[in-house]
Symmetry: C2
Subunit: 387 residues, 2 copies
């Protein structure tokens, strides 16, 4: 078991109707609010109007139009500019993980005098950040309970996971009813995203009985509840369970004391969605089983056996490579069964830039230090197997 | 799934040698420290000297002699007096859960002008508390990651769980090597305490797949690792896993979204240890299987089936009451197998005051509102079955 230093100071306010606490929470941070959101789905479900009504005594400025795979330019830069010009006290992110990720970068940039890219690219460590409150409308990334965000810079095909303990949301509002209208595509992609967050922590050298049990429970709960959400989008209990399942995914609590895994599938997927702007969860679902097949070896097989037996109930008496291969097949089949396109070509990626992307990943993601080390050729092989 | 509002702001610094961070942590809170501890075991293992050496630039006052089942008089009162007289900045608790529980009451009392019992008895809500740092030397109560403490008042036989969100430790240091010298008796009692914390949350009306999986993992990990600690007290990995298992026990994270259980075994055990000053974990281990037998019914049986199948691996094809009864027997046998005295008479309690204690519990613990409601006669029956 490895040493660790852990704290999550975020307050989770969870359940139907909890938004009634919003005015009290926001007023504790100040009067000037930057409201960040995406493409308008929060208007369709009435949440935008509700927020404006609840905060009618505050001074609200708005940054709409934040895209999936949120962009440094214009979103982060515009947000930072507004915060500085209007002397914003607190940012309220309303939407999914992309809106919140972008909000985190804005929160740090707002308290920094130079180019915010200095912070995101780790050239400079932030000294402060504006407080962040969020209302989450998509069960997926877990950004509501972690200190990181992923920001894309289109002109350089960079997609960087920017992590800093200053970036934990102060308060996250999670009302499962806001996810009732999430499409089947996004529900499935959110499930795949959260499952991959867990797998990225599960597959490592040194884990504990407790962490393994936590993560196996998280994976099983996600699979059961995502299916229920797809069958009946207004199943409150299933939406609620899936929402909390996703919240823990990136928080680190699943891997306290574990050795580092290197998060290889995220490293590879970030190139796919940076170059092609695909849905992150779909990219992960496509990559994950191919990565598993590629790294299966005498060194790694025992983890796959544990995963197969405890998550999919595969007979523990079988040959261990049989168990491992069945577990990988079950992983693929589950993603396929919830409607995720399982080939790169299904999401508009052909072989033309695979080499370029593999090179970019090998240069930038440090996967030669992952639990199962990957060099440029390994990455290219995994991409080709995913076509 | 129930609504919830959750935050744990405690920083966990975990692992061998982490105490080297103590000076930096303490100095962030100020110079004047009240050092609280118990009967001297921290001197035997060299921890007292180490702390004094690391904090040689601070101004340290001491409150030694805090007992198990910590007492309002003299410990809480003495601590509050020192904090006020010396204008203490931060309290450093070094020891097990009892020292930390006492420290929490002192931290609140130090910032209150009246009688600290007003706070502990919930007559007055605390408005502030001194910051608390702890170094835990016993895997058991989970006080290092929760906001409560249990305080006993001898003259009235009161034993009150005092909970307030102001009482989360700011920082908890957890070095498993400090538990190498914990006796077999206390190792087993700590395991039983933590297991009961989980069971008190598991047995309720409404749980989630995720919470059930978390708690089943916690129970299984505690059983495996406690056995290893008893077999080899210096097994670092087992001590470390058991330590983290215990840390989550009382934190609430296991039951986010669950309906209330009423914590019935704690309600009953608090009378036993208030009247007879027995070891809390032993009292819980004695009460728990008798409580289970007493409340087993058509209404409760399905939870016991899940518990039996998932925690003890009992064949799910058996009759459900057979599974439930086997699960209860396995619970008893596990506690017995790790050396816990399993009868009240083994810990010095005879039948003379059972009626008085049952009356006290019925009057003070609200168990008529528990998942499986208990009246005074039920409580007395459980006590008698435990003799």
């Amino acid at each position: 078991m490895q040493n660790f230093d852990y704290m999550t100071p975020t307050r989770l306010i969870f359940g139907k109707g909890v938004i009634s606490k919003l005015p009290e929470v926001m007023s504790s941070f100040g009067k000037k609010i930057l409201l960040t959101y995406g493409g308008g789905s929060i208007k369709k479900i009435g949440l935008y109007d509700k927020v404006k009504e609840l905060l009618k005594d505050s001074e609200i400025y708005e940054l709409p139009g934040i895209q999936p795979n949120p962009k440094y330019d214009p979103s982060v830069l515009d947000g930072v500019r507004i915060c500085k010009e209007k002397n914003i006290d607190v940012i309220l992110s309303v939407g999914g993980g992309s809106v919140l990720d972008c909000t985190k970068a804005i929160a740090a940039g707002a308290k920094y005098d130079g180019d915010p890219w200095d912070l995101i690219s780790y050239k400079v460590k932030a000294k402060a950040a504006l407080p962040i409150v969020d209302i989450i409308t998509l069960a997926a990334t877990g950004s509501e309970y972690d200190s990181g965000g992923v920001i894309s810079r289109t002109e350089t095909n960079d997609k960087i996971g920017y992590v800093d303990s200053l970036l934990y949301p102060a308060v996250s509002f999670l009302d499962p009813t806001y996810t009732f209208t999430v499409s089947k595509k996004q529900t499935a992609a959110g499930c795949a995203d959260a499952m991959n967050h867990i797998m990225e922590q599960y597959f490592c050298e040194d884990s504990t009985l407790l962490n393994d049990g936590f993560m196996e429970a998280g994976l099983k709960s996600l699979m059961v509840n995502a299916r229920k959400c797809l069958d009946n989008p207004e199943d409150y209990t299933a939406r609620a369970e899936m929402m909390l399942d996703c919240t823990y995914g990136c928080n680190g609590i699943y891997a306290l004391g574990n050795s580092a895994s290197g998060w290889p599938c995220h490293g590879m997927e970030h190139a796919l969605s940076a170059y092609y702007d695909i849905t992150h969860g779909e990219g992960l679902a496509i990559i994950t089983p191919r990565w598993m097949k590629h790294i299966l070896s005498d060194k790694t097989v025992d983890r796959f056996v544990k995963y197969g037996v405890n998550v999919f109930g595969i007979d523990s008496n079988l040959d261990k490579f049989d168990i491992a291969n069945k577990a990988i097949d079950e992983t693929y089949k589950f993603f396929e069964s919830i409607g995720i396109p399982m080939h790169l070509k299904d999401v508009g990626i052909d072989e033309s830039r695979l080499g370029e992307m593999a090179h970019h990943v090998a240069e930038n993601e440090g996967l030669e230090n992952a639990w199962a080390p990957l060099n440029e050729q390994d990455i290219l092989d995994i991409f080709k197997a995913s076509l």
